[in-house]
Symmetry: C2
Subunit: 391 residues, 2 copies
Amino acid sequence: MDNFTFYSPTYFVFGKDSEDQVGEYVKKFGGTTVLVHFGGKSAKSSGLLDRVEASLKKEGLKYVMLGGVKPNPRSGLVYEGIELCRKEKVDFILAVGGGSVIDSSKAIAAGVDYEGDFWDFYSGKPIEKALSVGTILTIAAAGSEGSPDSVITKEEGMFKRGASGDAIRPKFSILNPALTQTLPAFQSAAGITDIMAHLYERYLTNTGDVEVTDRLIEALLLTMKHEAPRVMADPNNYEARANIMWAGMMAHNNSCGVGRSQDWNSHNIEHELSALYDCAHGAGLAVTMPAVFRYVYKHDVMRFAKVATRVWGCQMDFDHPEVTALEGIDAFQHFLISIGMPANFQQLGARKEDIPKLVEVLCRGDGREGSISGFVTLSEEDCTKIYEMMV
Amino acid sequence: MDNFTFYSPTYFVFGKDSEDQVGEYVKKFGGTTVLVHFGGKSAKSSGLLDRVEASLKKEGLKYVMLGGVKPNPRSGLVYEGIELCRKEKVDFILAVGGGSVIDSSKAIAAGVDYEGDFWDFYSGKPIEKALSVGTILTIAAAGSEGSPDSVITKEEGMFKRGASGDAIRPKFSILNPALTQTLPAFQSAAGITDIMAHLYERYLTNTGDVEVTDRLIEALLLTMKHEAPRVMADPNNYEARANIMWAGMMAHNNSCGVGRSQDWNSHNIEHELSALYDCAHGAGLAVTMPAVFRYVYKHDVMRFAKVATRVWGCQMDFDHPEVTALEGIDAFQHFLISIGMPANFQQLGARKEDIPKLVEVLCRGDGREGSISGFVTLSEEDCTKIYEMMV
């Protein structure tokens, strides 16, 4: 196991009606003037925003509202949020939504007291301080509610890049599984896929002898495998939603990823798809992961055979472990298709003729030098072949 | 899943030589005058205390030393520590040791600024504030490095009782698996048993539909099952020690126990044994758990069959699930015996004729009213029978 530090100081409030306490938690963590940041209509029409406003008012907190965050959140709204916070002297940012809203909130939080362009943080500059962020999660997917990470798309050039830092970890996160019951089936499935991707990206490691984190990752994958079909069959299944919601947080707060190298090539390869086509990140991952895994599995056949047997219930072929490895990748893809995810470029709305452009941005954009690294280092040629496998 | 809150703000520093940074971490978390609290000779003879002192001096920190913590830590040394902290104006307590040292440190931390008797906190009074505590862990066992819990034995009456509160959660914990390599085999095995007990006590729940935490608990049990024999075969196996150390923290910071009722009857029944006979807590648990499980398994046969099949590799007997349930309990006890743990009163150094006294203190001591509650509520008669099963 590699040396590591682990710090996850977010206060989680989990369960039915927990969002009604949001005012108390903002106060507990020092907020006085709040930016309520959210997405579109559903937060309003469901009555969630009304309840949030009522709770903030009850605690005597001032607040301003900023909606309009879209999936694959853009830099434009971040700049707008930063300006608004400066003007209104906001000291606390409350994200009401899914990963996109939370990531946008984190970007604003980092940018308000920073003199330069907030994009510097998404180009590698460490985030040293930020306004406090709290969240009310409405989609189990990104894990941003318990992570130090944020992903934003810069409209100039359509670069989709990540930033990370303890300063932007949420101070509290309110997780009410009932809020996810109204999600459309496709969004639920995309969220499930994103959670499973966070697990696979950690599972694909070059660090040996990491049984504890292997087992924890497998535990969360097994949970997803069991609970996802229950949610697809009955979107109102609170218990299944609850299991998925906690798994989604645990999948990405890194308690199951410490002390081991991780992958993140599937995420990087996918980010270009959702940046160019504005597809759901989870849907893009459903197409990307099987292709990446089939391209790289020979790098460590036994690791793929392990997840195949322990998670997907494949029988180990001791004479031909590569058969088991591939069987596990097939099983994963069949699972993703069974919950309604796309399997190829066409279903995703991507185009074969764009591959050179995708590879160019992926491997050369924003300071990269012809490859991406992870479980395996992938050259432009590798990435081209992987995108071609998705067609 | 039940509603819950979860908060684990401890900063973990994990890996080789990590204790050399202790001065920096004390400073980072606001300490200026430190009580270094430790156990016996091994911390000195191994050179660990010298390295700790060097690191504190390097950062210009003042410190006083208080050694002598014994397993099943006593109230006497807590009172002494409180007096010393008041006299020396200590503002940070550094525990260098295992669960006993950490628990004693937490008790001192809670008591320094409290006007009454610190034992009030171990009789149910909430801990509202405490001095900051940091730890350097030398035994993977109690999980106290990442928990809000502390267990102390009151010498007057030999009551062994727990207290809990976020205020006594360690600010940081330094986990270097190499520090556990010099432990005697028996202590390593007792620690392993304690970790597995923390998992079983969470597994035995009356809350339905908690797949995510079931799976996480099973993952950690599977890790222990795999790594423990490797440590017993080679005490210097750093990788196995590392896997166990992280599993020990995860087993007890409650990320795998949230949203579900828990048991803790085995712990309560054992506490009377280690209080009366001063045996190792883990050794006491090795004798207690199989008896408790065999006494209560009919309360939820399927739960015991689940852990039997998923962790112990038993084949499910679908016609007679109780056979599988008992097979899993047998497998667990055989495992404990295989790593050198005792199986009965005699091997533990306990006496049959003391059973009435054990039951009296367990069920009537310190405010209890004739029973203990958990997975199953156990009367004095039940507890008598359970102790008798251990003879």
